[in-house]
Protein backbone atom coordinates (compact mmCIF):
# COMPACT_ATOMS: atom_id res chain seq x y z
CA UNK A 1 0.00 0.00 0.00
CA UNK A 2 1.52 3.29 -1.10
CA UNK A 3 0.87 6.23 -3.40
CA UNK A 4 1.17 3.94 -6.45
CA UNK A 5 -1.82 1.87 -5.39
CA UNK A 6 -3.47 -0.48 -2.93
CA UNK A 7 -2.36 -4.09 -3.24
CA UNK A 8 0.21 -5.92 -5.34
CA UNK A 9 -1.90 -5.99 -8.50
CA UNK A 10 -2.43 -2.24 -8.48
CA UNK A 11 1.25 -1.61 -7.82
CA UNK A 12 2.33 -4.02 -10.57
CA UNK A 13 -0.11 -2.39 -13.01
CA UNK A 14 1.19 1.08 -12.10
CA UNK A 15 4.81 -0.02 -12.53
CA UNK A 16 4.00 -1.53 -15.94
CA UNK A 17 2.32 1.71 -16.99
CA UNK A 18 5.23 3.72 -15.52
CA UNK A 19 2.84 5.68 -13.34
CA UNK A 20 4.03 7.72 -10.42
CA UNK A 21 2.21 8.49 -7.18
CA UNK A 22 4.09 11.75 -6.65
CA UNK A 23 2.05 14.97 -6.49
CA UNK A 24 2.67 18.50 -5.18
CA UNK A 25 2.77 18.45 -1.39
CA UNK A 26 -0.49 19.42 0.26
CA UNK A 27 0.00 17.33 3.39
CA UNK A 28 -1.77 18.75 6.43
CA UNK A 29 -0.41 22.24 7.14
CA UNK A 30 3.01 21.68 5.56
CA UNK A 31 4.07 24.60 3.40
CA UNK A 32 7.02 23.17 1.54
CA UNK A 33 7.66 23.44 -2.15
CA UNK A 34 8.09 19.74 -2.85
CA UNK A 35 6.33 16.66 -4.18
CA UNK A 36 5.18 13.77 -1.99
CA UNK A 37 3.79 10.29 -2.46
CA UNK A 38 0.66 10.51 -0.28
CA UNK A 39 -1.78 7.63 0.10
CA UNK A 40 -5.30 8.84 -0.69
CA UNK A 41 -8.08 8.31 1.83
CA UNK A 42 -6.00 7.83 5.00
CA UNK A 43 -8.02 10.52 6.81
CA UNK A 44 -11.21 8.51 6.30
CA UNK A 45 -9.85 5.24 7.68
CA UNK A 46 -11.15 4.02 11.02
CA UNK A 47 -9.09 1.48 12.91
CA UNK A 48 -10.69 -1.76 14.00
CA UNK A 49 -12.88 -0.88 16.96
CA UNK A 50 -10.90 -2.81 19.60
CA UNK A 51 -7.71 -1.02 18.49
CA UNK A 52 -9.05 2.54 18.43
CA UNK A 53 -6.48 3.76 21.02
CA UNK A 54 -3.83 3.07 18.37
CA UNK A 55 -5.38 5.60 16.01
CA UNK A 56 -2.76 7.63 14.16
CA UNK A 57 -1.83 8.07 10.52
CA UNK A 58 0.91 5.44 10.75
CA UNK A 59 -1.32 2.70 12.14
CA UNK A 60 -4.07 3.60 9.66
CA UNK A 61 -1.57 2.97 6.88
CA UNK A 62 -0.57 -0.27 8.60
CA UNK A 63 -4.20 -1.42 8.73
CA UNK A 64 -4.69 -0.48 5.07
CA UNK A 65 -1.62 -2.55 4.23
CA UNK A 66 -2.76 -5.55 6.30
CA UNK A 67 -6.10 -5.54 4.45
CA UNK A 68 -4.49 -5.94 1.00
CA UNK A 69 -3.88 -9.12 -0.97
CA UNK A 70 -5.70 -11.33 1.52
CA UNK A 71 -2.77 -10.93 3.92
CA UNK A 72 -4.81 -11.02 7.16
CA UNK A 73 -6.57 -14.21 5.93
CA UNK A 74 -3.21 -15.71 5.03
CA UNK A 75 -2.00 -15.05 8.59
CA UNK A 76 -5.16 -16.59 10.03
CA UNK A 77 -4.20 -19.75 8.11
CA UNK A 78 -0.64 -19.52 9.40
CA UNK A 79 -1.95 -19.22 12.96
CA UNK A 80 -3.74 -22.54 12.49
CA UNK A 81 -0.61 -24.16 11.02
CA UNK A 82 2.04 -22.88 13.42
CA UNK A 83 0.07 -21.71 16.46
CA UNK A 84 -0.15 -17.99 17.24
CA UNK A 85 2.64 -18.25 19.84
CA UNK A 86 5.09 -19.54 17.24
CA UNK A 87 4.66 -16.62 14.86
CA UNK A 88 7.00 -13.72 15.53
CA UNK A 89 6.57 -10.15 14.32
CA UNK A 90 9.40 -7.84 13.30
CA UNK A 91 8.30 -4.50 11.92
CA UNK A 92 10.19 -1.46 10.73
CA UNK A 93 9.31 2.20 11.06
CA UNK A 94 11.28 5.39 11.09
CA UNK A 95 8.90 7.88 12.71
CA UNK A 96 6.06 5.66 14.01
CA UNK A 97 3.10 7.81 15.12
CA UNK A 98 5.04 11.05 15.62
CA UNK A 99 2.38 12.93 13.67
CA UNK A 100 0.00 12.28 16.58
CA UNK A 101 2.50 14.01 18.89
CA UNK A 102 2.98 16.88 16.43
CA UNK A 103 -0.79 17.45 16.50
CA UNK A 104 -1.00 17.04 20.28
CA UNK A 105 1.65 19.75 20.77
CA UNK A 106 -0.69 22.22 19.06
CA UNK A 107 -3.37 21.37 21.60
CA UNK A 108 -1.32 21.79 24.79
CA UNK A 109 -3.15 23.38 27.67
CA UNK A 110 -2.36 27.10 27.38
CA UNK A 111 -1.90 27.42 31.16
CA UNK A 112 -0.17 24.20 32.19
CA UNK A 113 1.36 23.06 28.89
CA UNK A 114 0.01 19.54 29.35
CA UNK A 115 -0.89 17.37 26.39
CA UNK A 116 -4.57 16.72 25.61
CA UNK A 117 -6.24 13.91 27.58
CA UNK A 118 -6.95 11.92 24.40
CA UNK A 119 -3.24 11.66 23.52
CA UNK A 120 -2.11 8.01 23.62
CA UNK A 121 1.68 7.92 23.87
CA UNK A 122 2.32 4.18 23.96
CA UNK A 123 -0.21 3.41 21.24
CA UNK A 124 0.97 6.08 18.78
CA UNK A 125 4.27 7.87 19.43
CA UNK A 126 6.37 5.05 20.84
CA UNK A 127 8.31 3.21 18.13
CA UNK A 128 6.80 -0.08 19.34
CA UNK A 129 3.25 1.17 18.63
CA UNK A 130 3.37 -0.31 15.12
CA UNK A 131 4.55 -3.67 16.45
CA UNK A 132 1.82 -3.99 19.05
CA UNK A 133 -0.84 -2.75 16.60
CA UNK A 134 0.13 -5.33 13.98
CA UNK A 135 0.46 -8.07 16.59
CA UNK A 136 -3.03 -7.42 17.96
CA UNK A 137 -4.58 -6.94 14.53
CA UNK A 138 -3.27 -10.31 13.36
CA UNK A 139 -3.63 -12.12 16.70
CA UNK A 140 0.02 -13.11 16.99
CA UNK A 141 1.63 -14.29 20.21
CA UNK A 142 5.26 -14.91 19.36
CA UNK A 143 8.35 -12.84 20.12
CA UNK A 144 8.44 -9.52 18.33
CA UNK A 145 9.65 -5.94 18.32
CA UNK A 146 10.21 -2.93 16.12
CA UNK A 147 13.42 -2.12 14.27
CA UNK A 148 13.90 1.61 13.85
CA UNK A 149 17.13 2.29 12.00
CA UNK A 150 15.79 5.09 9.79
CA UNK A 151 15.49 4.16 6.10
CA UNK A 152 16.88 0.63 6.44
CA UNK A 153 14.32 -0.38 9.13
CA UNK A 154 11.96 -2.59 7.15
CA UNK A 155 14.81 -4.23 5.21
CA UNK A 156 16.66 -5.20 8.39
CA UNK A 157 13.57 -6.97 9.77
CA UNK A 158 14.13 -9.67 7.12
CA UNK A 159 17.54 -10.44 8.62
CA UNK A 160 16.14 -10.45 12.15
CA UNK A 161 13.25 -12.76 11.19
CA UNK A 162 15.56 -15.17 9.37
CA UNK A 163 17.88 -15.38 12.39
CA UNK A 164 14.96 -15.83 14.79
CA UNK A 165 13.56 -18.69 12.72
CA UNK A 166 17.01 -20.27 12.32
CA UNK A 167 17.51 -20.17 16.10
CA UNK A 168 14.08 -21.70 16.74
CA UNK A 169 12.71 -18.62 18.54
CA UNK A 170 9.73 -18.82 16.17
CA UNK A 171 8.62 -20.95 13.22
CA UNK A 172 7.36 -18.08 11.09
CA UNK A 173 7.34 -14.31 11.29
CA UNK A 174 5.40 -11.37 9.96
CA UNK A 175 7.82 -8.75 8.65
CA UNK A 176 7.25 -5.38 7.08
CA UNK A 177 6.60 -1.88 8.20
CA UNK A 178 4.74 1.39 7.95
CA UNK A 179 5.77 5.02 7.79
CA UNK A 180 3.52 8.01 7.32
CA UNK A 181 3.97 11.51 6.06
CA UNK A 182 4.57 13.84 9.01
CA UNK A 183 5.88 17.32 9.64
CA UNK A 184 9.06 15.96 11.27
CA UNK A 185 10.37 14.36 8.09
CA UNK A 186 9.00 16.99 5.69
CA UNK A 187 10.53 19.93 7.56
CA UNK A 188 13.52 17.85 8.63
CA UNK A 189 14.62 16.76 5.17
CA UNK A 190 13.80 20.28 3.94
CA UNK A 191 16.18 21.72 6.56
CA UNK A 192 18.92 19.52 5.16
CA UNK A 193 18.19 20.79 1.64
CA UNK A 194 17.26 17.26 0.59
CA UNK A 195 13.64 17.66 -0.60
CA UNK A 196 13.16 17.85 -4.36
CA UNK A 197 11.21 20.73 -5.88
CA UNK A 198 9.46 18.49 -8.39
CA UNK A 199 8.94 14.73 -8.41
CA UNK A 200 12.23 13.09 -7.45
CA UNK A 201 14.43 11.94 -10.35
CA UNK A 202 16.78 9.15 -9.25
CA UNK A 203 20.12 8.94 -11.06
CA UNK A 204 19.22 11.96 -13.24
CA UNK A 205 21.93 14.53 -13.90
CA UNK A 206 19.46 17.16 -12.62
CA UNK A 207 18.29 15.27 -9.55
CA UNK A 208 17.73 17.59 -6.62
CA UNK A 209 16.57 15.47 -3.71
CA UNK A 210 13.93 13.12 -2.40
CA UNK A 211 10.15 13.05 -2.62
CA UNK A 212 8.90 11.72 0.70
CA UNK A 213 6.30 9.00 0.44
CA UNK A 214 4.24 6.94 2.83
CA UNK A 215 2.78 3.48 2.96
CA UNK A 216 2.89 0.05 4.51
CA UNK A 217 3.86 -3.43 3.42
CA UNK A 218 3.96 -6.88 5.01
CA UNK A 219 5.20 -10.38 4.27
CA UNK A 220 5.13 -13.74 6.02
CA UNK A 221 8.47 -15.50 6.37
CA UNK A 222 8.75 -19.19 7.20
CA UNK A 223 11.34 -21.95 6.97
CA UNK A 224 12.42 -22.67 3.39
CA UNK A 225 11.62 -26.35 3.88
CA UNK A 226 7.99 -25.40 4.50
CA UNK A 227 7.78 -23.14 1.45
CA UNK A 228 4.86 -23.89 -0.85
CA UNK A 229 4.97 -23.76 -4.63
CA UNK A 230 5.58 -20.27 -5.96
CA UNK A 231 7.19 -19.10 -2.72
CA UNK A 232 9.97 -16.54 -2.89
CA UNK A 233 13.23 -17.35 -1.10
CA UNK A 234 15.20 -14.92 1.04
CA UNK A 235 18.62 -15.97 -0.26
CA UNK A 236 20.91 -13.46 1.39
CA UNK A 237 21.12 -10.56 3.83
CA UNK A 238 23.96 -8.09 4.26
CA UNK A 239 24.18 -5.41 6.95
CA UNK A 240 26.86 -2.82 7.62
CA UNK A 241 27.49 0.63 9.03
CA UNK A 242 29.10 3.56 7.22
CA UNK A 243 30.84 4.93 10.33
CA UNK A 244 31.10 8.16 8.39
CA UNK A 245 28.35 10.75 8.98
CA UNK A 246 24.88 10.95 10.52
CA UNK A 247 23.05 12.15 7.40
CA UNK A 248 25.45 11.78 4.47
CA UNK A 249 26.48 8.45 2.95
CA UNK A 250 30.10 7.41 2.67
CA UNK A 251 31.31 9.15 -0.52
CA UNK A 252 32.90 5.96 -1.87
CA UNK A 253 29.91 3.85 -0.93
CA UNK A 254 32.09 1.71 1.31
CA UNK A 255 29.34 0.66 3.73
CA UNK A 256 26.94 0.00 0.83
CA UNK A 257 29.54 -2.18 -0.85
CA UNK A 258 30.09 -4.19 2.33
CA UNK A 259 26.34 -4.79 2.72
CA UNK A 260 25.92 -5.95 -0.91
CA UNK A 261 28.99 -8.19 -0.73
CA UNK A 262 27.83 -9.76 2.53
CA UNK A 263 24.40 -10.41 1.00
CA UNK A 264 26.07 -12.15 -1.96
CA UNK A 265 28.40 -14.14 0.31
CA UNK A 266 25.60 -15.23 2.63
CA UNK A 267 23.61 -16.39 -0.42
CA UNK A 268 26.64 -18.19 -1.87
CA UNK A 269 26.20 -16.19 -5.07
CA UNK A 270 28.41 -14.20 -7.41
CA UNK A 271 27.58 -10.77 -8.78
CA UNK A 272 26.69 -12.31 -12.15
CA UNK A 273 23.96 -14.40 -10.49
CA UNK A 274 21.89 -11.27 -9.82
CA UNK A 275 19.47 -10.40 -12.64
CA UNK A 276 18.26 -7.03 -11.40
CA UNK A 277 19.11 -4.58 -8.61
CA UNK A 278 16.43 -2.46 -6.98
CA UNK A 279 18.54 0.46 -5.82
CA UNK A 280 18.07 2.63 -2.77
CA UNK A 281 18.27 5.46 -5.35
CA UNK A 282 16.84 8.34 -3.32
CA UNK A 283 17.68 11.01 -5.93
CA UNK A 284 19.89 13.02 -3.63
CA UNK A 285 23.20 13.99 -5.22
CA UNK A 286 25.20 12.15 -2.59
CA UNK A 287 23.22 8.92 -2.24
CA UNK A 288 23.03 8.17 -5.94
CA UNK A 289 26.71 8.99 -6.51
CA UNK A 290 27.95 6.80 -3.67
CA UNK A 291 25.52 3.94 -4.36
CA UNK A 292 26.49 3.97 -8.03
CA UNK A 293 30.17 3.64 -7.10
CA UNK A 294 29.42 0.72 -4.81
CA UNK A 295 27.18 -1.05 -7.34
CA UNK A 296 29.60 -0.51 -10.21
CA UNK A 297 32.54 -1.85 -8.22
CA UNK A 298 30.72 -5.09 -7.48
CA UNK A 299 28.50 -5.56 -10.51
CA UNK A 300 30.29 -3.61 -13.25
CA UNK A 301 28.42 -2.13 -16.21
CA UNK A 302 26.18 -5.14 -16.91
CA UNK A 303 23.60 -5.81 -14.22
CA UNK A 304 20.40 -3.84 -14.89
CA UNK A 305 19.38 -1.65 -11.97
CA UNK A 306 16.88 1.05 -11.15
CA UNK A 307 15.27 2.94 -8.32
CA UNK A 308 11.49 2.83 -8.00
CA UNK A 309 11.39 5.95 -5.81
CA UNK A 310 10.34 8.10 -8.79
CA UNK A 311 7.14 6.04 -8.70
CA UNK A 312 6.55 5.63 -4.95
CA UNK A 313 8.62 8.39 -3.38
CA UNK A 314 11.01 7.57 -0.55
CA UNK A 315 8.99 5.61 1.99
CA UNK A 316 11.79 5.99 4.59
CA UNK A 317 11.33 3.23 7.19
CA UNK A 318 8.93 1.43 4.81
CA UNK A 319 11.25 1.60 1.80
CA UNK A 320 12.82 -1.79 2.57
CA UNK A 321 9.61 -3.83 2.59
CA UNK A 322 8.08 -1.83 -0.27
CA UNK A 323 11.07 -2.48 -2.49
CA UNK A 324 11.32 -6.10 -1.36
CA UNK A 325 7.72 -6.53 -2.54
CA UNK A 326 8.50 -4.74 -5.82
CA UNK A 327 11.48 -7.11 -6.18
CA UNK A 328 9.13 -10.06 -5.66
CA UNK A 329 6.78 -8.65 -8.32
CA UNK A 330 9.80 -8.31 -10.62
CA UNK A 331 10.58 -12.02 -10.13
CA UNK A 332 6.98 -13.21 -10.41
CA UNK A 333 6.14 -11.17 -13.49
CA UNK A 334 9.48 -10.84 -15.28
CA UNK A 335 9.52 -7.07 -15.00
CA UNK A 336 12.52 -4.84 -14.43
CA UNK A 337 10.88 -1.48 -13.69
CA UNK A 338 12.28 1.56 -15.47
CA UNK A 339 12.88 4.71 -13.44
CA UNK A 340 9.85 7.02 -13.34
CA UNK A 341 10.62 10.75 -13.77
CA UNK A 342 14.29 10.21 -14.63
CA UNK A 343 14.89 11.94 -17.98
CA UNK A 344 18.54 11.27 -18.67
CA UNK A 345 21.02 9.36 -16.55
CA UNK A 346 23.78 11.41 -14.97
CA UNK A 347 26.83 10.74 -17.19
CA UNK A 348 28.98 10.57 -14.05
CA UNK A 349 27.09 7.45 -12.95
CA UNK A 350 28.31 4.23 -14.54
CA UNK A 351 25.91 1.45 -13.56
CA UNK A 352 23.44 -0.04 -16.07
CA UNK A 353 20.51 2.16 -15.03
CA UNK A 354 17.12 1.39 -16.58
CA UNK A 355 14.98 4.29 -17.77
CA UNK A 356 12.42 2.06 -19.48
CA UNK A 357 10.67 -1.08 -18.30
CA UNK A 358 12.30 -4.29 -19.43
CA UNK A 359 10.48 -7.60 -19.73
CA UNK A 360 12.92 -10.38 -18.93
CA UNK A 361 13.25 -13.47 -16.81
CA UNK A 362 14.21 -12.35 -13.31
CA UNK A 363 15.33 -15.18 -11.02
CA UNK A 364 17.23 -13.18 -8.39
CA UNK A 365 17.03 -9.58 -7.23
CA UNK A 366 19.25 -7.64 -4.88
CA UNK A 367 17.55 -4.71 -3.16
CA UNK A 368 19.31 -1.95 -1.22
CA UNK A 369 18.13 0.14 1.72
CA UNK A 370 20.40 2.69 3.36
CA UNK A 371 19.60 5.09 6.18
CA UNK A 372 20.63 7.94 8.45
CA UNK A 373 23.31 7.01 10.91
CA UNK A 374 24.99 5.09 8.07
CA UNK A 375 22.75 2.02 8.46
CA UNK A 376 22.93 -0.22 5.38
CA UNK A 377 21.02 -3.35 4.44
CA UNK A 378 20.96 -5.41 1.24
CA UNK A 379 18.60 -8.31 0.62
CA UNK A 380 18.70 -10.96 -2.10
CA UNK A 381 15.37 -12.52 -3.07
CA UNK A 382 14.94 -15.35 -5.53
CA UNK A 383 12.41 -17.66 -7.12
CA UNK A 384 12.18 -21.13 -5.59
CA UNK A 385 13.43 -23.73 -8.04
Amino acid sequence: MNSLGAGSDAILHALRAKHSGLRPCDFETARIDTYVGAVPGVDDIRLRRDLSDYDCRNNRLAQMGLEQDGFAEEIAGARDRYGAGRIGFFLGTSTSGVHATELAYRRRDPKTGTLPADYHYAETQNAYSLGEFVRRYLGLGGVGFVVSSACSSSAKVFGTAARMIAAGVCDAAVVGGADSLCLTTLYGFHSLGLTSRGPCRPFDADRDGISIGEGAGFALIARADRAGPGAILLLGVGESSDAYHMSTPHPEGLGAKMAMQEALDSAGLKAADIDYINLHGTATKSNDASEDKAVFEIFGPQTPCSSTKGATGHLLGTAGITEAIISILAIEHGLMPGSAHTRSVDPALKSNYLLENRDAKVARVLTNSFGFGGSNCSLILGAAR
Binding site: F145, S241, A243
Partner: protein
Protein backbone atom coordinates in the same frame (compact mmCIF):
# COMPACT_ATOMS: atom_id res chain seq x y z
CA UNK B 1 20.94 -20.27 23.03
CA UNK B 2 24.19 -19.87 24.95
CA UNK B 3 26.31 -16.75 25.11
CA UNK B 4 29.15 -15.47 27.24
CA UNK B 5 29.45 -12.11 28.98
CA UNK B 6 32.83 -10.48 28.41
CA UNK B 7 32.20 -6.92 29.51
CA UNK B 8 29.62 -4.86 31.36
CA UNK B 9 28.87 -1.13 31.29
CA UNK B 10 26.37 0.51 33.63
CA UNK B 11 25.11 3.99 34.32
CA UNK B 12 22.09 4.77 36.43
CA UNK B 13 20.91 6.74 39.44
CA UNK B 14 23.32 5.89 42.25
CA UNK B 15 25.04 3.44 39.89
CA UNK B 16 27.94 5.43 38.40
CA UNK B 17 29.56 2.64 36.41
CA UNK B 18 29.85 -1.14 36.73
CA UNK B 19 32.70 -1.03 39.23
CA UNK B 20 30.60 0.75 41.84
CA UNK B 21 27.31 -0.68 40.59
CA UNK B 22 28.56 -4.24 40.99
CA UNK B 23 29.15 -3.67 44.71
CA UNK B 24 25.70 -2.14 45.14
CA UNK B 25 23.96 -4.95 43.26
CA UNK B 26 25.96 -7.60 45.15
CA UNK B 27 24.55 -6.11 48.36
CA UNK B 28 27.97 -4.96 49.60
CA UNK B 29 26.97 -1.32 49.51
CA UNK B 30 23.63 0.33 50.09
CA UNK B 31 21.78 1.64 47.05
CA UNK B 32 20.84 5.28 47.31
CA UNK B 33 19.06 7.03 44.51
CA UNK B 34 21.02 9.98 43.11
CA UNK B 35 20.62 11.61 39.69
CA UNK B 36 22.43 9.77 36.89
CA UNK B 37 25.59 11.59 35.91
CA UNK B 38 26.15 11.35 32.17
CA UNK B 39 29.40 12.78 30.92
CA UNK B 40 30.26 13.40 27.27
CA UNK B 41 32.13 10.47 25.83
CA UNK B 42 35.73 11.09 24.83
CA UNK B 43 35.11 8.60 22.02
CA UNK B 44 33.81 11.44 19.88
CA UNK B 45 35.74 14.36 18.44
CA UNK B 46 35.00 17.68 20.20
CA UNK B 47 32.72 18.99 17.42
CA UNK B 48 30.57 15.86 17.44
CA UNK B 49 30.56 15.79 21.24
CA UNK B 50 28.75 19.13 21.35
CA UNK B 51 26.10 17.92 18.92
CA UNK B 52 25.28 14.72 20.71
CA UNK B 53 22.17 14.70 22.87
CA UNK B 54 22.19 13.19 26.33
CA UNK B 55 20.68 9.81 25.40
CA UNK B 56 23.50 9.31 22.90
CA UNK B 57 26.11 10.25 25.53
CA UNK B 58 24.50 7.74 27.88
CA UNK B 59 24.62 4.93 25.30
CA UNK B 60 28.20 5.73 24.33
CA UNK B 61 29.35 5.86 27.96
CA UNK B 62 28.03 2.42 28.89
CA UNK B 63 29.23 0.94 25.59
CA UNK B 64 32.71 2.28 26.18
CA UNK B 65 32.86 0.89 29.74
CA UNK B 66 31.76 -2.56 28.58
CA UNK B 67 34.43 -2.70 25.88
CA UNK B 68 37.16 -1.54 28.28
CA UNK B 69 36.75 -4.62 30.45
CA UNK B 70 36.11 -7.01 27.55
CA UNK B 71 39.35 -6.34 25.72
CA UNK B 72 37.41 -6.61 22.43
CA UNK B 73 37.87 -4.13 19.61
CA UNK B 74 34.69 -2.11 19.19
CA UNK B 75 35.59 -1.49 15.54
CA UNK B 76 35.26 -5.21 14.86
CA UNK B 77 32.08 -5.82 16.85
CA UNK B 78 28.46 -5.74 15.72
CA UNK B 79 26.01 -3.81 17.89
CA UNK B 80 22.39 -4.05 19.01
CA UNK B 81 20.98 -0.82 20.42
CA UNK B 82 17.66 -0.95 22.19
CA UNK B 83 15.64 1.83 23.73
CA UNK B 84 11.99 2.58 24.41
CA UNK B 85 12.25 6.34 24.01
CA UNK B 86 15.19 6.94 21.67
CA UNK B 87 16.15 10.62 21.92
CA UNK B 88 13.47 12.29 24.10
CA UNK B 89 14.78 15.88 24.28
CA UNK B 90 15.08 16.12 20.51
CA UNK B 91 11.54 14.84 20.00
CA UNK B 92 10.24 17.49 22.40
CA UNK B 93 12.21 20.29 20.74
CA UNK B 94 11.15 19.21 17.24
CA UNK B 95 7.48 19.01 18.22
CA UNK B 96 7.64 22.43 19.91
CA UNK B 97 9.17 23.95 16.80
CA UNK B 98 6.69 22.23 14.50
CA UNK B 99 3.78 23.50 16.63
CA UNK B 100 5.06 27.07 16.32
CA UNK B 101 4.53 29.47 13.44
CA UNK B 102 8.21 29.31 12.47
CA UNK B 103 8.62 25.56 11.95
CA UNK B 104 12.28 25.95 11.04
CA UNK B 105 13.86 22.81 12.50
CA UNK B 106 17.61 22.49 12.76
CA UNK B 107 19.21 19.90 10.45
CA UNK B 108 21.34 18.54 13.31
CA UNK B 109 18.29 18.21 15.50
CA UNK B 110 16.51 16.33 12.72
CA UNK B 111 19.26 13.75 12.27
CA UNK B 112 19.51 13.42 16.06
CA UNK B 113 15.78 12.60 16.17
CA UNK B 114 16.10 9.18 14.52
CA UNK B 115 15.77 6.20 16.85
CA UNK B 116 19.18 4.95 15.67
CA UNK B 117 21.03 8.21 16.48
CA UNK B 118 23.07 6.50 19.21
CA UNK B 119 24.02 3.68 16.83
CA UNK B 120 25.10 6.20 14.19
CA UNK B 121 27.31 8.17 16.60
CA UNK B 122 28.72 4.93 18.04
CA UNK B 123 29.77 3.63 14.63
CA UNK B 124 31.39 6.98 13.79
CA UNK B 125 33.15 7.13 17.18
CA UNK B 126 34.45 3.56 17.12
CA UNK B 127 34.91 3.38 13.32
CA UNK B 128 32.87 0.20 13.38
CA UNK B 129 31.47 -0.74 9.98
CA UNK B 130 29.95 -3.91 11.40
CA UNK B 131 26.21 -4.56 11.36
CA UNK B 132 24.18 -2.50 13.81
CA UNK B 133 20.49 -2.48 14.60
CA UNK B 134 18.24 -0.28 16.76
CA UNK B 135 15.19 -1.77 18.43
CA UNK B 136 12.17 -0.82 20.48
CA UNK B 137 9.73 -3.02 22.39
CA UNK B 138 8.39 -0.45 24.88
CA UNK B 139 8.93 -1.83 28.42
CA UNK B 140 10.38 -5.07 27.01
CA UNK B 141 13.10 -3.34 24.99
CA UNK B 142 15.97 -4.86 27.00
CA UNK B 143 14.66 -8.42 26.55
CA UNK B 144 14.08 -7.80 22.84
CA UNK B 145 17.67 -6.59 22.48
CA UNK B 146 18.99 -9.63 24.33
CA UNK B 147 17.13 -12.01 21.98
CA UNK B 148 18.31 -10.08 18.91
CA UNK B 149 21.91 -10.16 20.20
CA UNK B 150 21.70 -13.88 20.99
CA UNK B 151 20.33 -14.82 17.55
CA UNK B 152 22.96 -12.66 15.85
CA UNK B 153 25.66 -14.40 17.86
CA UNK B 154 24.18 -17.79 16.97
CA UNK B 155 24.08 -17.03 13.25
CA UNK B 156 27.31 -15.05 12.83
CA UNK B 157 29.44 -16.87 15.41
CA UNK B 158 31.03 -13.55 16.36
CA UNK B 159 30.66 -11.14 19.30
CA UNK B 160 27.89 -8.58 19.63
CA UNK B 161 27.59 -5.61 21.98
CA UNK B 162 24.12 -5.00 23.40
CA UNK B 163 23.47 -1.42 24.49
CA UNK B 164 20.16 -0.64 26.23
CA UNK B 165 19.42 2.92 27.32
CA UNK B 166 16.51 5.16 28.25
CA UNK B 167 16.50 8.81 29.20
CA UNK B 168 13.32 10.43 30.60
CA UNK B 169 11.25 12.83 28.51
CA UNK B 170 10.92 16.48 29.51
CA UNK B 171 7.38 17.76 30.13
CA UNK B 172 4.79 17.59 28.72
CA UNK B 173 5.75 14.14 27.39
CA UNK B 174 7.06 13.09 30.80
CA UNK B 175 3.51 13.01 32.17
CA UNK B 176 2.44 10.78 29.28
CA UNK B 177 5.42 8.45 29.71
CA UNK B 178 7.06 8.93 33.10
CA UNK B 179 10.51 7.33 33.49
CA UNK B 180 12.17 7.69 36.88
CA UNK B 181 15.76 8.16 35.76
CA UNK B 182 18.32 7.94 33.02
CA UNK B 183 19.59 4.36 32.79
CA UNK B 184 21.98 2.60 30.46
CA UNK B 185 23.54 -0.85 30.35
CA UNK B 186 25.92 -2.47 27.88
CA UNK B 187 27.00 -6.10 27.59
CA UNK B 188 29.75 -7.38 25.32
CA UNK B 189 28.58 -10.88 24.43
CA UNK B 190 30.43 -13.68 22.65
CA UNK B 191 29.56 -17.07 21.20
CA UNK B 192 32.31 -19.00 22.97
CA UNK B 193 33.93 -19.02 26.38
CA UNK B 194 36.97 -16.77 26.08
CA UNK B 195 39.52 -15.77 28.70
CA UNK B 196 37.48 -12.67 29.59
CA UNK B 197 34.17 -14.47 29.99
CA UNK B 198 32.68 -13.72 33.42
CA UNK B 199 29.35 -15.51 33.00
CA UNK B 200 27.31 -17.66 30.68
CA UNK B 201 23.72 -16.86 29.66
CA UNK B 202 21.38 -19.62 28.55
CA UNK B 203 18.22 -18.25 26.95
CA UNK B 204 15.01 -20.25 26.86
CA UNK B 205 11.33 -19.46 26.34
CA UNK B 206 9.46 -21.18 29.15
CA UNK B 207 5.73 -21.83 28.85
CA UNK B 208 3.45 -20.79 31.72
CA UNK B 209 2.64 -17.72 33.67
CA UNK B 210 5.86 -17.01 35.52
CA UNK B 211 6.23 -13.35 36.49
CA UNK B 212 9.25 -11.17 35.80
CA UNK B 213 12.02 -11.54 38.34
CA UNK B 214 11.86 -8.82 40.98
CA UNK B 215 14.56 -7.25 43.10
CA UNK B 216 14.50 -7.61 46.87
CA UNK B 217 15.66 -4.03 47.50
CA UNK B 218 12.54 -1.87 47.14
CA UNK B 219 14.42 1.18 45.80
CA UNK B 220 16.12 -0.92 43.12
CA UNK B 221 12.79 -2.56 42.32
CA UNK B 222 11.29 0.89 41.84
CA UNK B 223 14.09 1.70 39.43
CA UNK B 224 13.58 -1.58 37.54
CA UNK B 225 9.92 -0.72 37.00
CA UNK B 226 10.65 2.94 36.31
CA UNK B 227 12.89 2.57 33.27
CA UNK B 228 12.69 0.05 30.39
CA UNK B 229 16.49 -0.24 30.24
CA UNK B 230 16.55 -0.96 33.99
CA UNK B 231 14.57 -4.16 33.33
CA UNK B 232 18.14 -5.47 32.97
CA UNK B 233 18.76 -5.08 36.72
CA UNK B 234 17.96 -8.68 37.77
CA UNK B 235 20.43 -9.92 35.15
CA UNK B 236 23.03 -7.45 36.41
CA UNK B 237 22.36 -8.48 40.01
CA UNK B 238 23.04 -12.11 39.09
CA UNK B 239 26.29 -11.05 37.39
CA UNK B 240 27.31 -8.97 40.41
CA UNK B 241 26.60 -11.76 42.91
CA UNK B 242 28.46 -14.31 40.83
CA UNK B 243 25.90 -16.94 41.69
CA UNK B 244 23.80 -19.10 39.43
CA UNK B 245 20.39 -17.48 38.92
CA UNK B 246 17.32 -17.72 36.73
CA UNK B 247 15.96 -14.39 35.54
CA UNK B 248 12.57 -14.15 33.86
CA UNK B 249 11.75 -11.24 31.55
CA UNK B 250 8.14 -10.72 30.39
CA UNK B 251 7.04 -9.55 26.95
CA UNK B 252 3.84 -7.69 26.09
CA UNK B 253 2.70 -10.73 24.14
CA UNK B 254 2.64 -12.79 27.33
CA UNK B 255 5.78 -14.61 26.22
CA UNK B 256 8.60 -15.00 28.70
CA UNK B 257 12.33 -15.14 28.27
CA UNK B 258 14.33 -17.02 30.88
CA UNK B 259 17.99 -16.11 31.25
CA UNK B 260 19.96 -18.65 33.22
CA UNK B 261 23.06 -16.86 34.48
CA UNK B 262 26.04 -19.02 35.48
CA UNK B 263 29.35 -17.50 36.56
CA UNK B 264 32.42 -18.64 34.60
Amino acid sequence: MRLFVEGVGLLGPGLPGWQVGRGVLAGEERFSFAPTIVVASDLLPAAERRRTPISVKLALAVGQEAFQSSGRDAAQTATVFTSSSGEPDTLHQMCETLASAEREVSPTRFHNSVHNAAAGYWSIATRSMEASTSLCAFDASFGAGLIEAATQIASRRSPVALIAYDHPYPEPLHSARPLVASFGVALVLAHERGAKASAMFELTFPPGEEKSTRLADSALEELRLGSPAARALPVLEALARRKEADVVLEFPTGRRLRVKVSPC
